[in-house]
């Protein structure tokens, strides 16, 4: 019994010095040592870790497990790419504004999310954010467009010259080089320029030419002439008429001895270039010549 206790303590390494000496004298201890020593013959066979690792990697490849992992990696890459593509698509559709452009001789009707209508004249561009339209009815305009705005919250048209705000009305905005004009056909339009704030009632027009503001009243019409394929001008510098002509017909106009600042009142059609040319040259006493490469030379009378 006492030996058993000693053996247990010996196994656990808790024999005291005295107990150890006493225990080492016994026959049981000698047996124990012999047994313990003989255990070395039962040691696990050598294990060559590197060799087994090599075998493991070969097995792994053979069973296609590596391929599976690589496939997963590929899948991850594809997923990442998809996320990127879908993400940027969403970004472009949701966060970047909708942009519509017209080219020379083109006019286009756009229906906005609230079913307000914009009719764009040639060489114009509008952009607006479709996603935010519910909260803010706001668009940017370069060029010329006629607006038929549904009644509702404030509707803003931003141009480089100023912002036009309305609640629901019909108006035309023409923003061209050195020329800015807003024509109100119905309701009340507010035109905010960096210099002043103007309230524009129906049948009134405001023009800013080279920084000078002109307000006028007109009696006829409920929509701009260009909607019906005509360009109409009332007391406009002649170079504006020429620029408009170039936007409606794909031609270059080369004036010679022509007073470009002369005031012009009249109109020209978008359907017949020769007729249109006559409409703007005859009243001004100008002769024209059409070259083969679509250039038109205007010659003024030499006085």
């Amino acid at each position: 019994m006492k030996t058993d206790k000693h053996i247990e303590k010996w196994l656990n390494g808790t024999l005291s010095e005295e107990e150890r000496k006493q225990f080492e004298e016994t026959e049981a201890y000698k047996e124990l040592i012999k047994l313990s020593d003989s255990l070395k013959y039962f040691k696990a066979p050598d294990y060559d870790t590197e060799k087994e690792l090599k075998r493991f990697n070969t097995n792994k490849a053979k069973e296609g497990r590596q391929v599976k992992i690589k496939w997963q990696k590929t899948l991850l890459r594809v997923a990442a790419m998809l996320t990127l593509v879908v993400g940027s698509y969403l970004y472009y559709t949701y966060f970047l504004p909708e942009t519509i452009e017209t080219s020379i001789a083109e006019s286009r009707e756009i229906i906005l999310p609230d079913s307000s209508i914009v009719i764009m004249n040639a060489v114009s561009k509008i952009s607006y954010n479709e996603r935010k339209w519910d909260k803010t009815r706001e668009l940017e305009l370069i060029g010329e467009a006629f607006f038929k705005v549904k009644k509702g919250s404030k509707f803003d048209v931003k141009t480089t010259e100023g912002t036009i705000s309305v609640l629901g009305t019909q108006f035309n905005v023409k923003q061209r080089k050195d020329f800015f004009e807003v024509v109100c056909f119905e309701g009340l339009v507010s035109v905010q320029t960096p210099f002043e704030n103007n309230e524009l009632p129906a049948n009134h027009t405001i023009r800013i030419i080279n920084g000078k503001v002109f307000k006028n009243q007109f009696s006829e019409g409920f929509e701009p002439a260009w909607i019906n394929n005509e360009s109409a001008f009332t007391s406009v510098p002649f170079h504006q008429v020429i620029s408009e002509f170039e936007r409606q017909y794909d031609v270059d106009i080369l004036p010679q001895n022509v007073n470009m600042d002369q005031i012009f009142t009249g109109r020209f059609t978008h359907k017949d270039m020769i007729l249109a040319l006559k409409s703007i040259t005859i009243p001004q006493n100008i002769s024209y010549q059409i070259t083969e490469d679509r250039q038109i030379i205007l010659s003024g009378e030499i006085e």
Partner: protein, 168 residues
């Protein structure tokens, strides 16, 4: 970042645990049950689950899987456990043939004794006495308490002593 699906990381884990797992399986189930192949199997399992197992849990995953796999193997084969006796080096030329024979008999008895131990006793005992694993380490490997390990080792020793009997 510390993912064992990374090949280098996985090799590192193999080097760290393969030998110990092998020895454990050997002492537990003997030579006939191909502990080396079982180590391979266990690591393949780990590789398949590499994205689910964090490095710290790899070791216990391996031991658990190897254990379960071995038990399946055993129930299928129903083979008796057997251990391999390494022949001692013939260094002592002066030893008498009687002595050598006696020694051989002793080892055979010891072998039988080891094979007759319960798997639980054997694993704890051999890991401790041959591999010099501390009680605490064994407890962690087997998922039992340290006290239980001590008890198993002691019981195993007493059984072996009975088996080999008195030898002068």
């Amino acid at each position: 970042m510390d993912n064992i699906c990374n090949e280098d990381k996985f090799n590192e884990i193999f080097r760290l645990h393969a030998k110990e797992l092998h020895d454990f399986l050997y002492y537990k189930y003997g030579f006939d049950n191909n502990p080396k192949d079982l180590v391979q199997e266990a690591f393949l399992k780990l590789w398949d689950n590499c994205h689910k197992v964090i490095p710290e849990k790899a070791r216990s995953f391996l031991f658990t899987v190897a254990n379960r796999q071995m038990l399946n193997e055993l129930s299928r084969k129903k083979t008796a456990l057997s251990y391999y006796i390494k022949e001692p080096r013939k260094s002592h030329t002066h030893e008498s043939p009687e002595y050598i024979l006696e020694e051989k008999e002793y080892r055979e008895k010891l072998k039988k004794g080891i094979e007759n131990l319960s798997e639980e006793q054997r694993t704890a005992f051999l890991l401790n006495r041959i591999e010099g694993k501390r009680h605490q380490e064994i407890a962690e490997m087997l998922g039992i308490s340290r006290k239980a390990v001590e008890k198993r080792i002691y019981t195993a020793l007493r059984k072996l002593k009975e088996q080999v009997g008195k030898i002068n």
